[in-house]
């Protein structure tokens, strides 16, 4: 009886699966949807700024909510969402937060299945570039955007930046012996004492841009294979464990976190700002199929505006928007340094793919247990 019933049941389940496999293939084309959002935005751009702003707020309020998929750290993302909701009552921000590249992956998976839930998203530049090439990202009108020209493009905005520094625990490494540049990290005395994030893409991009691919490849190969650094997922986790004294030296730590732990929590940390300074960004974009395009644009507009930047600074984030004090002289100094290399889409170009390939081969593979 069991066999007689199981076979038709399994067959029915298989039929459901095959039906499911076929039933989601008829969605609108990416290009068509992008064109719709783009044409609405173009109409806004053509209006006088004040009128466009008014229409934008009206339409966004009608939409009532915006779905933001972000890699911004949990507390910061929540605080920003609350600040936006306070600035625009009646528009709710639905946050989906994950680590890189979880957001890019979720967006990619959902979009391939024609499930269009994302309005605004941010993640590593290489993924955003791929999405733009695939027509999954809309162009952004420029009114209301206060960030410097270097921090925005036709389809992306970088509201905040993450200057990366070499950091060390002063209980384990005297300042006089600390590494101050990338070559220092290859000194045999640091073998087994380094820690690095699983996605050091920005550092690798910066080194490729500065040194060229062969030298950058040689450096990363030597770092990973000879120095045997511990690989962790999440920069903030690394910063905390550095403060605890678990690791002596961090290859790529986020400045705002290290400065905060050092100055506010009196953690035994110090750092060196390297020239050029890798500065990861998470380009923020609007999805071509955004279900709430006006609310998406309003959120992006606010993130890139001076009030948004001031709120970011209040929450400890680093923004380049003119005239915004970060509340820490050390952070202001790092932010205003001329050595920053922002990994924005226009700057990294083909470097992004080269860096990603290197990171996948030498770093990520090691995490999966199949690396050398």
């Amino acid at each position: 009886m069991r066999t007689r019933l199981f076979v038709p049941l399994a067959g029915a389940a298989a039929a459901v699966v095959l039906l499911a496999a076929g039933c989601s293939s008829g969605g609108p084309s990416n290009a068509a949807a992008a064109k719709t959002v783009n044409s609405e935005f173009a109409a806004l751009q053509a209006m006088p700024p004040a009128q466009a702003e008014q229409k934008l707020v009206q339409e966004a309020t009608k939409e009532g909510s915006v779905n933001w998929y972000t890699v911004t750290q949990g507390d910061d993302a929540n605080l920003l969402a609350q600040a936006f909701e306070k600035a625009y009552p009646g528009i709710k921000v639905n946050l989906t937060r994950s680590n890189e590249p979880g957001i890019a992956n979720t967006f990619n998976t959902e979009t391939r299945a024609h499930h269009y839930n994302v309005d605004v998203l941010d993640d590593d530049v290489s993924y955003m570039d791929q999405f733009h090439t695939s027509g999954l990202v809309a162009n952004i009108p420029t009114f209301g955007i206060d960030v410097p020209a270097a921090d925005r493009g036709e389809w992306w905005v970088v509201p905040d930046i993450q200057p990366a520094i070499i950091s060390w625990n002063t209980n384990l490494v005297p300042n006089s012996q600390a590494p101050t540049n990338y070559q220092d990290l290859l000194n045999p005395k640091w073998k087994g004492k380094l820690v690095i994030d699983v996605s050091p893409d920005s550092t690798v991009q910066t080194l490729i841009a500065s040194w060229g691919l062969p030298k950058a490849t040689q450096w990363l190969t030597q770092l990973m294979n000879t120095q045997d650094p511990t690989i962790l997922q999440s920069h903030t986790q690394i910063d905390q464990l550095m403060a605890a004294g678990k690791y002596a030296v961090c290859v790529e730590c986020f400045a705002y976190d290290v400065v905060n732990l050092k100055d506010n929590d009196h953690a035994p940390l110090n750092y060196a700002v390297v020239n050029p300074t890798p500065t990861p960004t998470s380009p923020t974009v609007i999805a071509a199929h955004a279900p709430h395009p006006y609310a998406a644009l309003l959120l992006l507009d606010w993130l890139a505006s001076k009030p948004g930047a001031q709120d970011m600074a209040k929450f400890g984030m680093v923004t380049q928007t003119a005239g915004v004090n970060l509340g820490s002289s050390a952070l202001n100094q790092i932010r205003d340094s001329s050595t920053l290399f922002l990994d924005t889409p226009d700057k990294v170009g083909s470097i992004a793919a080269e860096a990603q390939n290197l990171v996948n081969t030498l770093v990520a593979a090691k995490v999966a247990g199949s690396g050398s």
Binding site: R2, A14, V17, A21, L95, T236
Partner: protein
Amino acid sequence: MPTSTAPATDRSPEHRPAGAPGSAPRAPFLARLRGRNLPVTAVLLAILAVLVLVPLVLIVWQSLTNAPPGEGASFTFEKITQAYGTSSILPLIRNSAEFAVGSTVVAFVIGTGLAYLTERTNVPFRRLAYGLILFPLVVPGTVTTTAWMLLLDKNVGLLNYLLTLVGVHQPIFSAYSMWSMIWMQGADRFALPFLLMAAAFRTLDPGLEEASAMSGASFPRTFRTVTLPVLRPAIVACLLILFVENLETFEVPGIIGIPAHIPVFATYVYLLSNNVPFDVNLASAVSLSYIAIALIAVWVYYRSIRQAERFAVVGGKNFRPDRLELHGARKWVTAGVMHLVLLVTVVLPLAMLVYLSLLSYYHTPAHGGVPPLSLASYRWVLDTPEVSSAFVTNAEVGIVSGLAAMLLAAVIAWVVVRTKAPGRRLIDGLAFAPIAIPGTVLGLALAAVYLAVPIGVYGTIWILVIAYVSKYVSYAVRATHSSLTQVDGSLEEAATAAGAGGFRVFRTVTLPLIAPGALVAFLYVVTLTFKALSLPIMLTSANATMLPVLTYNTIQAGNYSDVAALGVVTTVGLAVLTGISALVSRRFGVARISGAL
């Protein structure tokens, strides 16, 4: 004494030859269908097919194709070759086996030892031990693992630091190793074998041991030749269910195994999902062996508990096994060892959590004396909307899932135990199979199913409810099943004879009878939704962030003090829930809880 779960005998109506002398006249066709509960059976089979078979078939389909559903996939063995054609799968199998077997042995030894001491000896402070033993059931695994990580760390671990105070300056412990992973998992899971083996020890007929002792056998010999063989079915079932649970767990492999470069199946599937684009077909191909190993273990387990359940009816002879009388120093040394084990496995990580929750960032007192303490992390727990939202979502999803699983399980158990409906064995088997589907794999499959079938489930709490009901209905069925087998069917027969219809009998007689078991099952499912990470990690979304996922993300962000505060608050809440469960189980016997497991 066989129960109604035994195979149909020649006396059952469906085996009586039609038209045979003495047989009743044939009832009309529709009446016969109703009598055999075919509509109920068909509905149950349809529900279980959607919950269990569709995800399983999808995993197989995806492993044999080269694109996700809806993207013009074609059949190929490319992903199978990619998954199994290289030697990289071997470390994965080896690590998974070492971790699952090792942690099973650790949990079993600790749990069984404690069960024996509390049930079969007169060791003092047994009630205190009972209370402590149940704690690991309610503390989320992510939180315990974080506590162990910071206790055992080679460089900044509290235990290595404490050893330096007594002159041991070379670190002894290291968190990032297979041995540590096995210890952490084993120490987190010993409550399960404790409950199962305590129930077995409690129902052990002392007459057998007494007869052995009377014939001159020593205690060790009696234990080896009498006690152990009698307990063998319970031991086998306990080891198998532990093995399956340890094979699918995500907490320890995710928090320790990933940075330690010790991948196991659960983390490998998760890491594959972090590649852009996510190769869902490769992940499905890898999952096949994962499911196959778990299915074999579950099949053996299922057979062993079915055997045991046939004889689970409480007999008329009331007995209470004799306790081994310990005297003098032996008694107190045994008590000391038992409480030392509990101190190390339960109190130490809990104390670490409380200490951690009061720090602004984790550090040992090694540098700069005793660190300043603060309640900032508790303020974060109370003031952060994301946390309160996760608590509310978790409670909603947990309660709805628990209720749905409980009701579905009650109907399944009734059909399986009380009827001769065709296909009831298949229903029982299908309801049990999800134990073998690892959480990450089930999550992966359900996400793919409900992305492809646009019925508004994906990205809502309903996909989580479906996932939890699919995964945990097996536990609920076991609990209600064992309740029903221990209650004689004559009450329902009397109600039927008095003219009550099938539904009325079920509602007014069956449900109240199985209520205690069903309530324990409900509370257990709710507790699991607050604890287990492997399932929601693949299904989380803006509108449906579950507490274990929020905890894991907070760990990933390195905010260990916030994690600890979150863990303390969650543990207190779940301890209350478990207290209710314990009250119920104390009222109706610990066997009901172990039945739920």
